[in-house]
Amino acid sequence: MRMRRLKAIAVKEFVQIWRDPRSLMIALLMPFTQMFLLGYGVTLDLKHIPVCTFDREASQNSQALLKHFQASQYFAIVRNVVTYPALVDAIDRADCKIAIVIPPDFSERLNDSGSAPVQAILDATDDNSANIAFGYALSVVSGYSGEVVLDALSRQGRELQQILPMTVQSRVWFNEDLESRNFIIPGVVAVIMALVGAQLTSLTISREWERGTMELLISTPVKPSELMIGKLLPYLAIGWIDAAFCLILAALWFQVPFRGTIFTLFITTTLFLIVVLGIGYLLSVLIRSQIGASQIALLVTMLPATLLSGYVFPIDQMPKVVQDITYLVYARYYVTIVKAIFLKGSDIPALATPILFLLVYAVAVMVLAARSFHKRLD
């Protein structure tokens, strides 16, 4: 390997990047737009769930129950319907996610038998939201129940004497307030970096083929490994800048607690960048048309990085086969690493496993890419 040739390739690639300012701009703007869109868009918190009420009794009691829904920050009453078809319509139109139906004999049953049923009709197309909404509704209703009990007792001149025999004292580690933002943002950083990396290098060789400049390159004495490293270096620099933007935004704008060291972050980020840039380069060596390379690059990065990296969808809940496949998704390791550095303050020894995986990945990709590139025109 000759430094001079390597440098020549790196300079050439850098000039080429510089002469396409639009692509460069997109690459440098990526962190900002994506951080803001994803950082605020990816949320699992449910607030103001639209509720529709169907009060078939319209008594003081039933209204008191509905007042509890009105007062809850989790719910927003969007409609009060008076017929069943209107309720069906509201759910069909997705105007409300949940409908509370109070039976016509609500007060009667409450007074007679001491228990009355209330129905919660859920739009369960989104099963997770529906489940969470039902949980909230349950707590609103039990709040009302408690009030009814207290009321009854005080009318009898008694006081509620009941201590719970056992209490749950929970202590949450690493993300004390259970802010979903704190666990989502580090994941978002990892996903964006996976996308940026693939976007930068996936076309770099296929472009030379398509434009016919590959013949020129082949006629030079440059070796495959020199070409690879020379081509990757300028993109590594862009990757560093992008990563720095993302991480600064995460820590300063989104206020995710940063408990690790910059050093650990720098080492792991560089390793991850080598992997993603290397994968892009490999794709571009293997697929000579730009459209083909782009298709595969999009398919192997965007959705897998989002769905299989564990950044919101927990890997340990997936079927075993899919869990095994996630080991191939390199974004998975970086998601683990960034989360751990930010929230747990982990150092390199603590992150040995994901770092080792990334290292193996990096070496494998580099060797494969250097081997698959032949200086031949066929």
Partner: protein, 379 residues
């Protein structure tokens, strides 16, 4: 006009279908992705890895541990002997939850004082942590309730307990997805997203490739008009997109057993409008970019937000207002309503017309802009 357009159409088809790898890339990855993501995308939390530390060693504490062990929501992965051990387990993420029963637990219970159960939770994934805490609270509450009932029965009979019973019972009636099956929600979403990625990317390269390779100049000297050229570019990708959508939909229905209760015609019509809006978006990218690298970068720039800000998995109603407004120009947002509405809810045009209309408008506007842009770039 027709013959000129059809020439372009034929040329595009040949280009798409010519080589073996091209065909492979068109068909195999989408199916693999659907199968993979249909299983991966789930928020369900069934197996919370749990470590237990019982320092009390009494009948009561063992009874409590047994409750947690027998729950199918929690997987007991470790029975720790010391506090350090359990702390380490959570530190290394070997367990997401640690349950600690301190010495004296049973004593406090028997004396009628509050007996604490200490729960350590790894909050790195706050969603999972919240759900896990919910399970633990439910099990603990049940234990408390049973303990009180038990005690009351032994001491004063059942009488004393009547008043404390819950008064209002909330019954759940989940519609459209009675078992809360996550796949029913996600698989239609994955179908829509795979179509998005494939179709936009293919069309984004349609014009820009001709420009970069230099064949656009040949087309410019031919008598073809810009609108004819764009139409000729649209038709093949529309057909391919339709085939692709049909393929993933059939695999989704057959493999994942997702029910389809709606009107197939409404679904097909909605899919066509969706494809048109995606084609229009792709063509617009293709006409504003001058190199394929730019088109590719723009794809990443645009597709990921479209995917995230669509309601695919993150509820739009929880997003900040500005982002909610942005979702109105996102065709995926409307198509998700159509595809889930026809698959699961069985709703028709009477309810879906605003979403269908929105996609038609997006397609119309983008297509017009790209024809204008293209005409301008030719001058």
């Amino acid at each position: 006009m027709f013959s000129r357009t059809s020439q372009i159409v034929i040329k595009e088809f040949i280009q798409l279908w010519r080589d073996k790898w091209g065909r492979f890339r068109l068909i195999v990855p989408p199916i693999v992705q659907l199968l993979l993501f249909g299983y991966a995308a789930t928020f369900e939390v069934y197996h919370v890895s749990t470590a237990v530390l019982d320092l009390d060693h009494t009948q009561e504490s063992r009874e409590l541990v047994a409750r947690f062990t027998s729950s199918n929501r929690l997987d007991i992965v470790q029975r720790a002997q010391t506090q350090d051990e359990i702390d380490g387990t959570i530190d290394r993420s070997d367990a997401a939850v640690g349950l600690v029963i301190h010495a004296g637990f049973a004593n406090l219970l028997r004396k009628g004082q509050e007996a604490p159960l200490q729960v350590l939770v790894d909050g790195t994934n706050s969603n999972t942590a919240l759900i896990a805490l919910g399970y633990i609270n439910t099990i603990a509450a049940q234990f408390s309730q049973d303990y009180v009932t038990d005690l009351a029965e032994r001491t004063q009979g059942i009488q004393g307990m009547e008043q404390a019973q819950v008064q209002v019972a909330l019954e759940q009636r989940p519609w459209f997805n009675p078992d809360f099956n996550g796949q029913w929600f996600f698989v239609p979403g994955v179908i829509a997203t795979i179509t998005l990625v494939m179709v936009v990317n293919l069309t984004a390269f349609a014009v820009v490739r001709e420009r970069e390779v230099g064949t656009l100049e040949q087309i410019m000297v031919s008598p073809i008009r810009p609108s004819e050229f764009i139409l000729g570019k649209t038709v093949p990708f529309f057909v391919v997109g339709l085939g692709l959508a049909a393929l993933v939909t059939i695999v989704g229905i057959v493999w994942f057993q997702i029910p389809f209760v709606g009107n197939p015609l409404v679904f097909i019509f909605g899919t066509m409008l969706y494809l048109l809006s995606l084609l229009a978006l792709g063509l617009l990218i293709s006409t504003v970019c001058s190199t394929q690298q730019q088109a590719f970068a723009t794809n990443f720039f645009v597709l990921n937000p479209l995917f995230i800000l669509s309601g695919f998995s993150f509820p739009i109603s929880s997003m900040p207002d500005v982002l909610q407004w942005l979702t109105y120009v996102n065709p995926l947002r409307y198509y998700l309503i159509v595809i889930r509405g026809t698959f699961l809810k069985g709703i028709g045009v009477a309810i879906l017309w605003p979403d269908l209309l929105a996609m038609a408008v997006i397609a119309g506007v983008l297509l017009t802009v790209s024809i204008l842009r293209f005409r301008k770039s030719l001058e």
